[in-house]
Symmetry: C2
Subunit: 359 residues, 2 copies
Amino acid sequence: MSSSASAPASATARRALPDAPFLLAARGERPSRLPVWFMRQAGRSLPEYRELRAGTAMLDACFDPEMLAEITLQPVRRHGVDAAILFSDIVVPLKAAGVDIDIVAGTGPVVASPVRDAAAVAALPELDAEQVVPVAEGVRLLVERLGETPLIGFAGAPFTLASYLIEGGPSRNHERTKALMHSEPEVWHALADKLADIALGFLRVQIAAGVDAIQLFDSWAGALSPRDYREFVLPHSAKVFAGVADSGVPRIHFGVGTGELLSDLRDAGPDVVGVDWRVPLDEAVRRLTATRPGSAPVVQGNLDPALLFGSWPVLEAEVRRIAEEGRAAAAHIFNLGHGVLPDTDPEVITRVVELVHSL
Amino acid sequence: MSSSASAPASATARRALPDAPFLLAARGERPSRLPVWFMRQAGRSLPEYRELRAGTAMLDACFDPEMLAEITLQPVRRHGVDAAILFSDIVVPLKAAGVDIDIVAGTGPVVASPVRDAAAVAALPELDAEQVVPVAEGVRLLVERLGETPLIGFAGAPFTLASYLIEGGPSRNHERTKALMHSEPEVWHALADKLADIALGFLRVQIAAGVDAIQLFDSWAGALSPRDYREFVLPHSAKVFAGVADSGVPRIHFGVGTGELLSDLRDAGPDVVGVDWRVPLDEAVRRLTATRPGSAPVVQGNLDPALLFGSWPVLEAEVRRIAEEGRAAAAHIFNLGHGVLPDTDPEVITRVVELVHSL
């Protein structure tokens, strides 16, 4: 990590938002209303997003301060959610650092030269904060424009970033990644450590520019056995969380299909653990406290995004059930168990926000 | 279901295989050696398969008795596994019944007219045993040629079949399927019931022709919350298992990412529960017995197929660990936690079989 990327996170433009329900809950308090936001709330479900993005490539949008700020604001205006999440992509810091990677519509991130040996790991560039200045500028615009709504920063976790680099693109089975872990653990750990530094550098830039919380996305961690997660992944995600601890902003950790990994995800050091829809929140709280009696966690989740396609009575009952089960936690931030699906009717999302706020 | 598809399963050509380790284990006994087979052992990992299939479409191969028999035999000859599994596909009975469905290379099953309302469900054809005569002929050829090796029959479970029909093809999120369940439960249950009859009819044909066991694949069940699984899926899978109970052949149930669903999968009525790699077998046994104290289950699994790409020392240690953890069960059938990946080196598979047999 360059010296500029590791600039003290205390030199920030961060707002004082003492009454923001999202931030209160993220710190383990019970705010006056149940806070709610949605992963991928900014994006293809919104017609105003599709209009604004028309003709602009995904990664170009992520490096355009005005566009990324506007996209980030759209769901806040429309839905009245309790937090904005920076419009970005987990590959943004890789692209910024000089990795030949692109996002192909309908496929996902595609890497020109997959990283599969020690030489490729050594050649992987570091991130200099100068390379993500447009993101920092976007954050500064958002801090000016968001009023009382907190802004969540965004980075991909080392395992999920590594899987894209090793497999060369999206992978269902992550076989080359797992093979590298087990066959050449030194190469794996060197790669994951570099990616932890890149994620950390990217988050510190966002924190310095004023984000109020951060979320580390380890989207594919659920593909790992708990044994592999603990040995090969947890130390590197822990480095990221520890590296932003001095900033004092709440830190959220999220992955899909992580029912078996919940306590390990917590051991990586976040303040909030995201839970997908496969495990009810009360059971998630039980797992998160099994090895830490008396230490109630803060949870985020866990509505199945597919249920936004169903009937309102069923959806309403699910929202109420989740809010009820979330009472087992120290605090609960309502969210989906994964991102908003592109074909979701945005009016349903607005209605869910209203319902959550009425509970 | 037609009368011929529901012909008594007792009128079979089934062999007496009293010493087959796979069948002994499937019935809860501890055979002289740990039995092992691999999901997708017949298929693209084998050069002899790629040679034989060259120029033949997947579904054509599934309806060619000589070809499906030869493909089924290939891994038995090469690896010395303890069971053959019928080369087929979960959409075979749908195709046979007249559904306009095809398997597109690189994509998977694609349905011409997705089934999304009551009229489409009503129009879904039933399966007549006459329509799968080539599969029955293939089974008869295999019974003649397999010697002492048992043959496992094959069908897709109602939920996984329904997802393909409703979504129109492979789906990551199954959103239309979940929406139909919740918004129009009567339509969902009518569809799942028809698919249970189709799966049941297909299995009874295979049993009548001589298969020694059956496996019901609910590949995508892990996408469901336990609540949804119990309400919308379990009764229909249970109908399939109950419908072949009179045959006396062991029944295996399998899905991926089903750590939260293991006891529910067992409640559907199989004799053996497959476990993917995310849950260690001893923990799986604990979950499978949590609501049935004293009733030790038979488990199948649970090597991560990605580990076949790693180094031999790591793979050997994993195989030994899994065999050890499997001792918590009444009996254990060694297998992968999902299917063999296409790029797997078949020599590694042979070596795993030798190792398992040496334990």
